[in-house]
Amino acid sequence: MDSYGISVKGCDLHYGDFHALKNISMEIKEHRVTAFIGPSGCGKSTFIRIFNRMNDLIENCRVTGDIIVGGEDIYAKNTDVTLLRKNVGMVFQKPNPFPMTIYENVAFAPRTYGIKKKNELDDIVEGSLRKAGLWGEVHDRLKKSALGLSGGQQQRLCIARALAAEPKILLMDEPTSALDPISTGTIEDLVNELKQQYTIVIVTHNMQQATRIADETAFFLMGEVVEFDDTNKIFTNPTDKRTENYITGRFG
């Protein structure tokens, strides 16, 4: 991977007979935060899950079109999905730390990629927790269960766990929708920091959040991208009437 952007051309996705994504094309720039907004069921999660091929886990899910991540066609026959998922990390809506210690959670990905030495792992764990802004809160209880953390801490742990794989791109599907406003603020600040090093794609239902953290925003409606532009432009001067209706709260 040399450039860490994402380029999608003519992407269609079907769940069985259901046409969930319709002819989507989009260029996501590296080291930017790109937000996906749109009403429930319009396909934001479906689309973001294409970039690390999480849709592979769903039966009857068919993807067509060119999806280039980091310069490579990720749906090519010889794609190493494990490597793809190492490079493209994901954070989910509901914090899902594994039922093991905080340390083990963060060390999970490096262990998957064959790192065994204790001091190497220690460094990765500390570094990742620091990047996720969690080190100060948990450094003295790394060997305690991750399930004992608060929701916001759990979500930052999940971010640390994803960062431990040393990804280039970070996908976040409504990472704050299960959190209180303070934890949400912490994570938004974190996203702003992380974009120096990572390309970030974030799904959000919270328009203020999109304006606060996203450089560019895509508005989805019924499986289509209605508008994709600078966040500023989308929220102050949208081209499409439907975008305007949505951001002014007239539907959705």
């Binding site: 793809l84 998922r85 989910f92 039922p99 999970f108 994803a162």
Partner: protein, 274 residues
Amino acid sequence: MRKPIDIFLFCLTWGFAALTLISLLFIIIHVLINGIPHLTPTLFERRFTTDNVSMFPAIISTIFFVLLTLLMAVPLGIFASIYLVEYVKKGSKIVTLIRSATEMLAGIPSVVYGLFGMLMFVEFFGFGWSLISGSLTLTVMILPVVIRTTEEALKSVQGGYREGGFALGAGKLRVVFRIVLPSAIPGILAGVILAIGRIVGETAALIFTAGTIPQVPQELTQSARTLAVHMWALSAEAHHTNEAYATAVILLLIVLGINTASAVIARLITAKTK
């Protein structure tokens, strides 16, 4: 206020609930009253003789049967369930087939397992009436229990764990064995304890396959009797009724202990998943 039919149904349910409880209490008290006075130290002597009718060899043999059976049934059952839950496509024919087969196996009376075990292990494989024939028969018998409970335990593991694991690039094997299986262990354990209960309480399946020799077996191919079989053998001989009751007290304690353990574990699981 209430219709008479409601009151009638209310009384009926309460009546039957009370009846169940009373019969249980009656059995326990009956066994305790008749058994405890006869719990003498000679019943726990190291060797069985026709005079002391010691239950000590039977207790040790019970442990052997339990361990040997679990050693075979638990890994087999766990791998079968992992296959069914994690690897087979949902709604596939194989799953439906295996599932209805396990359900049917669970409903077969244990005498039938005994006869099957006798034909299969005692005679066809030539293991004779022995620890190994008995354990193999018990394995076949409790496998459905282990598979069912493990399946349930695996299914109740949050989908988020699997997703999280895959998203980190872990393969199926790593996700299943490092994340899913460890979180399912409490549920699996509850199933294993249920299975232990079945083994400890089993007689018919063992009489036909392990014989009834009251000794601590030195080899897999020697005959042995569990506590339950021991009790059955004593009560079959008219002049050992008292000792049979005393044995029943111990058996009851063991079964109660096992049930308590499973209840505690079940509670721990629910507390954990909250």
